[in-house]
Amino acid sequence: MSEILLSLKNVETRIGPYHILHGVDLDVPKGSATMLLGRNGAGKTTTVRTIMNLWRASAGTIHFDGRDITNLETPDVARLGIGYVPETMGIFADLTIAENMRLAAFSGKIDTQRLERIFTMFPAIKRFWLARAGTLSGGQKQMLSIARAIVEPRRLLIIDEPTKGLAPAIVGNMVPIFRDLKQSGVTILMIEQNFAFANAIGDHVAVMDDGKVVHAGTMAELADNEAIQRRLLGLSMASHQ
């Protein structure tokens, strides 16, 4: 197995009176795409929010590139080079697309070549540059949230359900974008419910259930084994082709 960039050991998270994560163990290898799968309520979003320290881990440790980040404040986690695209997309609706992108460039400067590459990936970003983000369609908002996360070089991209609510044609267009990102050397940790999409991008997979990782391995392994799919996910990938 290649070098581990992100590692969670026995992570537990409580939100108010609720005990959501019950000891999550997860390794994300460097330079690959790890897909986090599982039923609704399995704890996937809680896991990534805990990594970002938007919810604090009550037990366990989180290491990023060998450094313990369990108790780092969210801005410090982000400044390590971790881009985060939440399930809600997190775009600032009252700001223009240009303002959203400027804000995402923490250094205060957007690299022109990088921006041109983003424009190539997401032409709508260029077309609607001065429009308010709140006026974009759902798919365009998702494009903006991803574009924003990659406006500066990232070591790790955490993306929570990028295909949620999107038309199949748009989802199909996103596959080469993520493959391209992966080829550029970015490590990806992605929550995904669309198995076909996950299979098209993922190298590794972790399946969660009841606040724990119940299966970890390669994506190919899971894709080839219908019995494991049915047991862990209640569905087979074949039904999603």
Partner: protein, 341 residues
């Protein structure tokens, strides 16, 4: 500065741009026009309109800070009035030994003493705001009930300290000599101080809009009003931003406090608590997090107070509540809500 290529040249025509919502902006001239038949005399109407607008911009100054604090930090600061009282009394303290300059007919000396008073009010209110944030606000982030209780407690403490230092009796704050009296447009008398208040208020409004829309810190504030978690996940420390916004809000209230004190001329340490009610009416009418909404609401409150005070004093007692009720029936989130809470 952000280096961006020129995608601006690409038209946004094919996306239905969100239309500018002109209706709330039209309310101010609409209210002024509707008032004409009730006032009768055009010159009286003009006098009341200028007075209402001047009162409105001062209310904007004292309200805008709380609008940001409530919008960005989600903090229910019922102690905001303390900074208004402080501003008025610090101004009084600066003005007292400089009474010769205040009574001088030299406009430059008048403006100098006013500037000194405003600077002192801003600095003292900002410093007390910083202490307020550290000691009272920070421990109760995210808990509205505790925020209300502790900020009301803090307000009482500050107000009692002001009574202990400056006394509880009514004090008089003299307007500098060159700003006393009125200018006449036909038969309409326009008080000079109100013209100055309009200029200062418009300047504060323009500066706030400029900072919020043209600067990086303004971008962060606007983004933080919408989604604080996301802003943090982008690497920005909102805690620092919160402190800056809270202190800026206190400074604005201090500045507005002195202007409000000069507008009223005679006041007691209750000046802040009396203004508190107006402030909450204004930020509710304007919509949380909206500077433009706050300004429109403040102007509406100023105009309504002056018109009803003249035409029907009995209605004036509850005219602002009635105004709030009507606006909320039309737009339950306020005129321009940026955040929904």
């Amino acid at each position: 500065m952000v280096a961006t290529p020129a995608p601006a040249a690409h038209a946004t025509d094919d996306l239905p741009r969100r239309p500018v919502d002109w209706l709330p902006m039209a309310l101010v001239p609409a209210v002024a026009l509707i008032a004409i038949p009730f006032i009768g005399s055009p010159s009286t109407w003009l006098t009341l309109t200028i007075a209402g607008l001047a009162m409105g911009v001062i209310i904007f100054m004292i309200s805008s800070g709380l609008m940001l604090v409530f919008g960005l930090m989600d903090v229910m600061n019922f102690g905001h009035g303390a900074f208004i009282t402080l501003g008025a009394y610090v101004g009084l303290t600066i003005f007292a030994p400089l009474s010769v300059w205040i009574d001088s007919s030299n406009l430059a000396l008048n403006l100098l003493v006013l500037t000194l008073g405003l600077l002192a009010a801003v600095v003292v209110a900002g410093a007390v705001g910083l202490v307020f944030d550290r000691v009272l606000i920070r421990p109760v982030y995210g808990n509205h009930l505790k925020q209300i209780l502790i900020t009301m407690g803090g307000f009482i403490v500050v107000e009692q300290l002001i009574r202990a230092i400056w006394g509880a009796e009514m004090v008089t704050l003299n307007i500098p000599a060159a700003l006393r009296g009125s200018l006449f447009i036909g038969d309409a008398a326009i008080e000079r101080y109100r013209i100055l208040a309009l200029v200062v208020g418009a300047g504060v409004f323009a500066a706030m809009l400029l900072i919020l829309t043209k600067t990086r810190i303004g971008l962060q504030i606007r983004a933080g009003v919408e989604d604080r978690d996301m802003l943090e996940a982008m690497g920005y420390r909102t805690r620092h931003l919160f402190v800056a916004v809270f202190v800026a809000g206190a400074m604005l209230a201090g500045m507005g406090g002195l202007m409000w004190g000069l507008y009223q001329q005679n006041f007691t340490p209750a000046i802040g608590s009396q203004a508190n009610v107006l402030i909450f009416i204004v930020i509710i009418i304007g919509g949380l997090g909206s500077t433009t909404g706050c300004m429109i609401a403040a102007l509406l409150v100023g105009l309504t107070t002056n018109y009803t005070g003249f035409a029907e004093p009995k209605i004036a007692l509850f005219s602002n509540i009635l105004l709030m009720l009507l606006v909320l029936l039309w737009r339950p989130q306020g005129l321009y809500a940026v955040v929904n809470r």
